[in-house]
Amino acid sequence: MRTHLTDDMLVEALDGLGSAEVRRHLGACPECAARLDEVRLGLEMAQAAEVPEPPPRYWEVFRRQVGRRISEEAPARRAVAFWLFPALATLAVLIALGILRGPNASQPGEPAVTLPAWSALPPAEEDEGLEVLQALAAEGDPLDAALPPQTVAGELSQLSDEESEVLADALRHELTGGEAL
């Protein structure tokens, strides 16, 4: 092995798991051997550091405290579960209703608009002819202006429904020679 040992290899050697090749290299390479000695020294220091042992009774108290905290937590979790399920069920229903009504659902307080189930007309905002029609409506009936009042058609257009009916009966009588149609 020509190159120096990697950190992994040195750790394995420290653990007594180095291969024969690694051992041979360590025997022949002072640099790698020195690195191994350094980490071994670090290991010995680490091993010498003990954690102060608490008094024997501490462990019993510790266990009791953990047990108490679990006991305190358990009813709280049950209580949460008690109201959480109906709340979630209600929320689910509301969400489902919201989805069914869709994004065009009317806002609260806004009068509900009854729309026909189907219309051949495009929506107002997309109707290009709407503006023209509204302008014409503002100017009055175009037929009124087109027909002069002194013509037959002009006179007919001035008749009320009742007068139109009387006229229609008279014409019918003339056409049939007094026989009923």
Binding site: D7, A13, A46, V51, W59, V66, G67
Partner: protein, 200 residues
């Protein structure tokens, strides 16, 4: 250094807790206790606490370096373990799973509190020599613990689990969610940095 001298295992695990405290697979008594807990027998969890409280406390102590915080962290770790018990799949030792919870608890605690002592960079300059020789044994222990607490997070976690809790490289890797190669590299640097921090 001779080849023969290297053949003797130095024993990275020599300073760890008793072997029976560290399971390589799911212990039968742990399995029984866990099953009982899942059936609603809360007292069964007491048995798990009793079995692992020392290890978890010590692990936490190595992290936070004082009794009060170690006590709080250890309790918190057990509480989290109890809450998450239904999610423990049993494909590793209970201790490995518990250590992972404890390490995360300590890491979160340290992140939240941001320990006053400055953490060292990954690579340290050599310190002065001869300091360790002048210390008394207990002072020396305290000094080493302080030095361990100053190691970068990953190095510290690796060193604590490997040296003080006798976990294999593979187990440490599982606890920390790292590769075995990373664990070995972190251990190497942790030991080197510890030596430097101690001024040797």
């Amino acid at each position: 250094m001779t080849v023969d001298a290297l053949a003797i295992p130095v024993g990275l695990a020599a300073a760890g807790p008793p072997r029976d405290a560290v399971a390589r697979g799911l212990r039968e008594d742990d399995r029984e206790a866990i099953e009982a807990c899942r059936q609603g027998e809360r007292e069964a969890f007491d048995r798990l606490v009793e079995r692992y409280q020392r290890d978890v406390y010590r692990l936490c102590y190595r992290y936070v370096n004082n009794h009060q915080d170690a006590n709080d962290m250890a309790q918190e770790a057990f509480l989290k373990a109890y809450r998450a018990l239904s999610r423990f799949r049993g494909d590793s030792a209970f201790s490995t799973w518990l250590y992972r919870i404890a390490v995360n608890t300590c890491l979160n605690f340290r992140a939240a509190r941001r320990v006053p002592q400055e953490e060292l960079s990954e690579h340290l300059a050599d310190g002065g020599a001869g300091v360790a020789e002048r210390m008394q044994e207990d002072e020396r222990s305290a000094q080493v613990r302080k030095a361990v607490a100053r190691l970068p997070e990953k190095q510290r976690a690796t060193l604590i689990l490997k040296i003080y809790h006798d976990l294999t490289h593979e187990e440490v890797a599982r606890v920390l969610g790292a590769s075995v190669g990373t664990v070995k590299a972190n251990l190497f640097h942790a030991l080197g940095n510890l030596r430097k921090l101690m001024g040797v």
